[in-house]
């Protein structure tokens, strides 16, 4: 996605595919225009992002936040699985990942 304002219907369709979200044609048209407005708003930031401003990925100017290599107690398998929609043999059970290709 470029920093230029706007997003095409095809780009939205591709994102939906990557995110595994099924969308109808009407939804795609609708979202392409709505996301375009949002992107335009966010794009205003680039007006102040001049060459003398460093890109940042974090609001605080911090580096090197580390923890010591020490073991802390884990959850039990039961606790870990408590939110799982399905489980089997103490493992998370998930639907078929790839269809027959």
């Amino acid at each position: 996605m470029s920093s230029a304002a706007g997003i095409s219907r095809a780009e939205v369709a591709n994102l939906a595919r990557l995110a595994r979200i099924e969308m109808s044609d009407i939804e795609l048209d609708h979202l392409a225009s709505e996301l375009g407005i949002i992107l335009n708003a966010v794009a205003k930031v680039s007006e102040v992002a001049t060459a003398d401003i460093e890109p940042t990925s974090h609001p605080l100017a911090m580096v090197n936040v580390f923890r010591k290599d020490e073991i802390r107690p884990s959850l039990t398998a039961q606790e870990a699985l408590s939110g799982a929609p399905a489980q089997e043999e103490s493992r998370f059970k998930v639907p078929q990942i790839l269809g027959d290709e």
């Binding site: 591709n14 990557l18 995110a19 595994r20 990925s57 974090h58 605080l60 911090m62 580096v63 090197n64 936040v65 580390f66 923890r67 010591k68 290599d69 020490e70 073991i71 802390r72 107690p73 884990s74 959850l75 039990t76 398998a77 870990a80 699985l81 939110g83 089997e88 043999e89 103490s90 493992r91 998370f92 059970k93 998930v94 639907p95 078929q96 990942i97 790839l98 027959d100 290709e101």
Partner: protein, 499 residues
């Protein structure tokens, strides 16, 4: 197309990606343990399960280990590097993304020099390293139902997230070209050298069979003289050194057959099959994957100080290649024997025996000889045999002191491997002990002389070959545990004959 024919026409180009699980106590971004083989989902927490509200924090040891790896591979350490999210929809990461590094890896531009043993002697190659970056391992999937336990056609999958979040380092080479027919050997030598370096650094247990060291091999062919790269395939699941060589050779042959038929090589991921030595197609990569990388907002950048990097550099220790040279010269090992020892992965083991006092030549010959033979016979790795470097040192010492003959030593080794106990226990249980006490031997000699007076007389009169019968009688009397040379010498002395 046969290998010999294809290398006349095509040039292989390789790219190798090695993943290594670091041997830290805890995971990359949380305090969960990293024990191999624990009960499923007993080493997880809100951070590595990606539960809402949890925050990752970088394991300092993992950063230190990665810098050590970068330095050992002659890389530059980036003064500033960041983590990124690699987004994908595969349930092996419960977060739906893997925390990795993308455009700002921690180590860049290194190289590794290799001495590759080929049928034409030792050849030198330099493999250039593109980058070394930090990431986290994924969970383990079991694919249920369907026919083969493979992901295609499975009805559902079961996930164990114990491994998800274990610190993982990815080491990526630049394009490896100009290796010609030696390409499979160069790749194998590269992974082996890398493994030895990582082991020497103590940053990983580098067990390929357990997956703590894994290699993905990108292979393509182009006509000799052609500049443009051919289409590559990426072979995964290559989990032994031998497989690295086989997989690359196999892919070269497969590509050449397609190209000769005028067909195209598909850019795809393939899986190596240990049993057949062939690869089978996996996910197709024709549609370039779109991982939508973006900087990880929950982690701050890593900016190692020069002092830190320097202190890690000073603690690196000896390079495996320097160590090999040092040991070869200290033990006076001929080139060929040295190569045999390195190939059989026996350097550490022999050194351990030597450090426990064994003579290097003797220790080497037991490990490379009798013990390797037994391992071969049982079709197991030497490391799986129940014999330790200490046992071998003890046996070498006993033989040196004349308390064991070579023949008895072999039996002791067999006994130790059969689980009968340490060498002393085996010797005692089996009643082995070289009768070296002269008194006992002389008594046996006198007995033999008394029993065979005619033979003794012949020897006394100078017919030395007749002594054989007497020596035989003594050996029989001492149940074969006397040193025959010693018996001979004492016997001749007893009968007034010069040796």
């Amino acid at each position: 197309m046969k290998y010999d024919a294809l290398i006349e026409k095509y040039e292989p180009v390789l790219g190798l990606e090695v993943h290594v699980e670091l041997g830290t106590e805890s995971k990359m971004f949380c305090g969960c343990a990293t024990v191999f083989g624990a009960e499923p989902n007993t080493q997880t927490c809100p951070v590595c399960l990606g539960l809402p509200g949890s925050l990752p924090v970088v394991n300092e040891k993992a950063v230190e280990y990665t810098i050590a790896i970068g330095l050992a591979l002659n890389c530059a350490i980036a003064p500033y590097s960041r983590f990124a999210r690699k987004n994908y929809f595969y349930p092996d990461m419960p977060k739906n993304f893997q925390t990795s590094q993308y455009d700002e890896p921690i180590c860049i531009n290194g190289y590794l020099d290799l001495d590759v043993e080929t049928e034409d002697g030792i050849k030198n190659f330099r493999v250039e390293i593109e980058r070394v970056h930090m990431e986290e391992d994924t969970g383990k999937s079991l694919h249920m139902g369907g026919d083969t336990g493979r992901i295609h056609g499975a009805d559902y999958s079961l996930l164990d997230y114990n491994r998800a979040g274990i610190p993982l380092v990815e080491i990526v080479t630049k394009i490896v070209e100009g290796t010609g027919k030696y390409a499979p050997l160069v790749a194998k030598a590269y992974v082996k050298e890398l493994r030895d370096i990582l082991r020497g650094l103590g940053v990983s247990d580098v067990k390929m069979e357990q997956g703590s060291l894994r290699c993905d091999a990108n292979v393509s062919l182009r006509l000799i003289g052609e500049k443009k790269l051919g289409t590559r395939s990426e072979t995964k699941n290559v989990n032994s050194l031998r497989s690295v060589e086989r997989a690359i050779r196999g892919e070269m042959i497969r590509h050449s057959i397609l190209l000769e038929k005028g067909e195209k090589v598909k850019q795809e991921t393939r899986h190596f099959q240990e049993d057949t030595g062939e690869t089978i197609a996996g996910r197709s990569k024709e549609e370039a994957e779109d991982y939508r990388y973006f900087p990880e907002p929950d982690l701050v950048p890593v900016a190692p100080s020069l002092e830190w990097i320097e202190s890690i550099g000073q603690s690196l220790g000896e390079r495996p290649s320097d160590r090999r040279k040092r040991l070869q010269s200290a033990w006076s090992v001929p080139d060929k024997e040295m190569a045999a020892m390195v190939n059989a992965d026996l350097l550490d083991t022999v050194e351990a025996s030597v450090l426990l006092g064994a003579d290097p030549t003797k220790a080497r010959s037991w490990w490379l000889g009798e013990i390797s033979r037994i391992a071969n016979e049982k079709a197991v790795a030497i490391s799986q045999l129940a014999i330790t470097p200490g046992d071998v040192a003890k046996i070498v010492a006993l033989v040196g002191a004349g308390e064991l003959t070579d023949k008895l030593a072999r039996a002791v080794i067999e006994g130790v491997i059969a689980g009968e106990g340490d060498p002393e226990t085996v010797i005692e249980k089996r009643g082995f002990k070289v009768v070296s006490d002269d008194g006992a031997l002389i008594a046996a000699i006198e007995k033999a002389v008394a029993a065979l007076p005619d033979v003794a007389e012949k020897v006394r009169s100078g017919h030395i070959p007749a002594a054989g019968a007497l020596i035989g009688a003594v050996m029989k009397d001492t149940k074969g545990q006397a040193d025959a040379a010693k018996v001979r010498s004492l016997l001749l002395q007893h009968l007034g004959q010069p040796e």
